[in-house]
Symmetry: C2
Subunit: 320 residues, 2 copies
C-alpha cells in the first residue's frame, strides 16, 4: 500500500486553472476556443494551435519536432497544452510567464505560424465581422479590442480549462481502488527512487527549472535550454521540469523528442538525474503508475466551433 504521508507532496487537479482573480468570462473563453482552431492566424492559412497541439490527441502531434510554415521543422518537441496553464512557466526553457503570454509566440514565430507582424493578425481578424463582435464582447472595456495581446488572453482563457483529471486524482480523493496494485507499487518506486524531488505537486512536475543531466551529463547538449534565452552560464542545460500528467500519451519524450519509449525515458531520468540504474521491474511498475496520470479530455469543452467565413478584406493565404 502507498504510505498516505507520501501523498502530501501531490494534489488533485483543479476543475480549471484560473487566475488568482477568478475565471475569465465565458465570452473570452469561447473566443479563445475558436482562435485555438483558427488557421488564418498562420501565414499560409494552414496551421492552427491544434496542428501541433491536437486536442483530440492529448494536446500533442506525436512527432519528434513539428512541421510549421512550409513544413519547416523546429528544434523542439511540442509539449501538451493540457494542464500547461498550471506550469511555473511556459516552453521548455520557461521563456513565457503564462499561457496568455505564450500564445502570442507561435503566431509570429517564422518556423511556426509565421505571421509577418501584429498588423497582419489584426487586419485578418478585423476583416471578419464575427471576430469583431466576439472581441468586443470578450474585452468589453476596450476601445480597440483586436490586438495580438488580446488574442493571447483569449486563447489563454480557453487553455485554462484544458484540465484532465485521472484515476490518480480519484485515488488522491480517497478512492483506494482507483489504482491497481502494480500502479501502487510503481508510485512507491517513483518516490523511493527520488523522482518526486522534481516531479511532485498537482502537476507531477511543472514547478521549477532543473539541470538536465544533474548527476550524470546528458548525452546531447545541442540545445542548452534556458541558456539559449538568457546566456547566463548558470542556465546551461536548465530546462523547465515537465508535468507528467498524460505522459503515456505524449511521446516522443524530452525537449528534442529524441526518445520514443517511455521505459527508456524513465531509465534515462534515473541514470542522469539521480545516478541510479533501475531494475526492469521497477521501470515497469513506474511506467504502470505513470499510466494512472492519463486523464479524461473534456470532450464538450474542446469541440471545434465553426470558424467564421472570410470576407474579401481578409488577407489571402501566403505560401511564401
Amino acid at each position: 500500500a502507498i504510505d498516505p504521508a507520501f501523498l502530501h507532496a501531490f494534489g488533485k487537479l483543479p476543475a480549471r486553472i484560473d487566475h488568482a482573480s477568478g475565471p475569465d468570462a465565458e465570452e473570452r473563453i469561447s473566443l479563445g476556443r475558436t482562435l485555438y482552431y483558427e488557421t488564418r492566424l498562420s501565414k499560409n492559412h494552414d496551421l492552427s494551435c491544434n496542428s501541433c497541439h491536437d486536442l483530440a490527441a492529448f494536446g500533442v502531434d506525436g512527432k519528434a519536432t513539428s512541421p510549421g510554415h512550409k513544413g519547416q521543422l523546429g528544434a523542439r518537441n511540442s509539449p501538451t497544452v493540457y494542464n500547461a496553464a498550471g506550469r511555473h512557466a511556459q516552453f521548455w526553457d520557461g521563456r513565457a510567464v503564462d499561457v496568455e503570454e505564450q500564445a502570442t509566440g507561435p503566431i509570429m514565430n517564422p518556423v511556426e505560424m509565421a505571421m509577418p507582424d501584429e498588423k497582419r493578425v489584426v487586419e485578418t481578424l478585423r476583416s471578419i465581422p464575427a471576430y469583431v463582435e466576439a472581441f468586443a464582447k470578450a474585452f468589453p472595456e476596450e476601445k480597440e479590442p483586436i490586438t495580438l495581446a488580446n488574442v493571447g488572453k483569449a486563447i489563454g482563457a480557453f487553455e485554462r480549462g484544458l484540465v484532465t483529471p485521472s484515476r490518480w486524482d480519484a485515488y488522491l480523493g480517497g478512492d483506494e481502488k482507483a489504482l491497481t496494485d502494480e500502479e501502487k507499487v510503481g508510485f512507491t518506486r517513483f518516490m523511493e527512487t527520488g523522482c518526486t524531488a522534481c516531479h511532485a505537486g498537482a502537476y507531477v512536475g511543472g514547478a521549477m527549472f532543473q539541470k538536465l543531466g544533474l548527476v550524470k551529463a546528458w548525452p546531447t547538449n545541442k540545445d542548452l535550454g534556458r541558456f539559449e534565452v538568457t546566456k547566463n552560464e548558470a542556465d546551461k542545460m536548465m530546462f523547465s521540469v515537465p508535468s507528467l500528467r498524460n505522459i503515456a500519451k505524449t511521446g516522443p519524450y524530452f525537449h528534442d523528442g529524441s526518445v520514443e519509449s517511455l521505459d527508456e525515458a524513465v531509465r534515462m531520468m534515473a541514470a542522469h538525474q539521480l545516478g541510479k540504474e533501475l531494475a526492469d521491474d521497477d521501470v515497469k511498475s513506474i511506467v504502470a503508475w505513470l499510466g494512472s496520470l492519463t486523464g479524461e479530455v473534456p470532450a464538450a469543452y474542446i469541440a471545434k466551433p465553426e470558424l467564421p467565413a472570410s470576407t474579401d478584406k481578409t488577407p489571402k493565404a501566403d505560401p511564401t
Copy 2:
C-alpha cells in the same frame, strides 16, 4: 544576477500559517502562548516546549539531542518550531499531520515531558482557575474544554504565528538590494547544484519525504526515519525534508544533530543527495545565501506571559 525565472519555485512567507478555514481566535492563540511556556505540563514541572524549542534562540536549544525528563536524551535533534506549521508533516519522520496533533506528543513522551496520562494533564489545568477560564474562552462551544486535544489545538494556534520573514522575502518582494552579491551567487549555486529539487517553496523545504542518502548511502543508519513508524521497506531512510529557514541559527544539523558546521552539512547534502563534490567557493556562497534565510523573530508575539499560580489541588512536581 539571479535569473528571476528561478524564483517561481520559491515564495514569501505568509504573515501567519493559518488553517484553510482562517485564523484561530485570539483567545485560543493567547492560551496557546501560555501553555507553550507551561512547565506544569511536564511530570517534574521543569520542562516546557520552550526548554527544547527556545523562542528567543530561533526555536531550538542548540544541542545535538535534548535533555528531557530526568535529563534523559532522546535520539533526535529538536527542530525549530518557527515556520514548522507550514511543513507537510511534523517530526523528522512526519508522524504527526500538523502542529495541533504534534503538540500533544512531547507532553506524554516518557523521555520528554513525561506526563503519565491525559488525566494528569487535565487535573493539572483544572486545578488552576485562570486556565479553567482561558479554556472556556478559547473553546466556547465545548462543555468540557480542558482536554489534551485542546491543549494541542491552542499550542498549535500559537505556533501558526511563529513566522520569521527575512531578507530573502524582501528580495522575493522585489527589493534587489536585500541580498548581497555573494548571496546572489550562492542562490544560483544552490539552484545549479540541484538543492532546489528538495528545498524549494516558501519554506525552502518542508514539503515532502526524501531518502537520506538518495544517491550515495548516508554514513549512519541507526535511525531509519519513517520506517521506524511504518515498518514499510520503502520507508527506510525516508525523512521529512526540513525547511532551511533560519538554518544558520539552528545547528547542529540533521536528525541526530551529528554535524556541527553548516559548511559540512551543505557538503554532505551535495555528496549524498546529489552525487556532487562542491568546491570550497561554492560551499561558501551557498552558506552565505542560506544566511539570508535568517529572519526576524516576532518579539512581541513570543513574549512570555506570566504563568498563573498553582492551587493546593494542583498535582505536585514528580522527579521520579
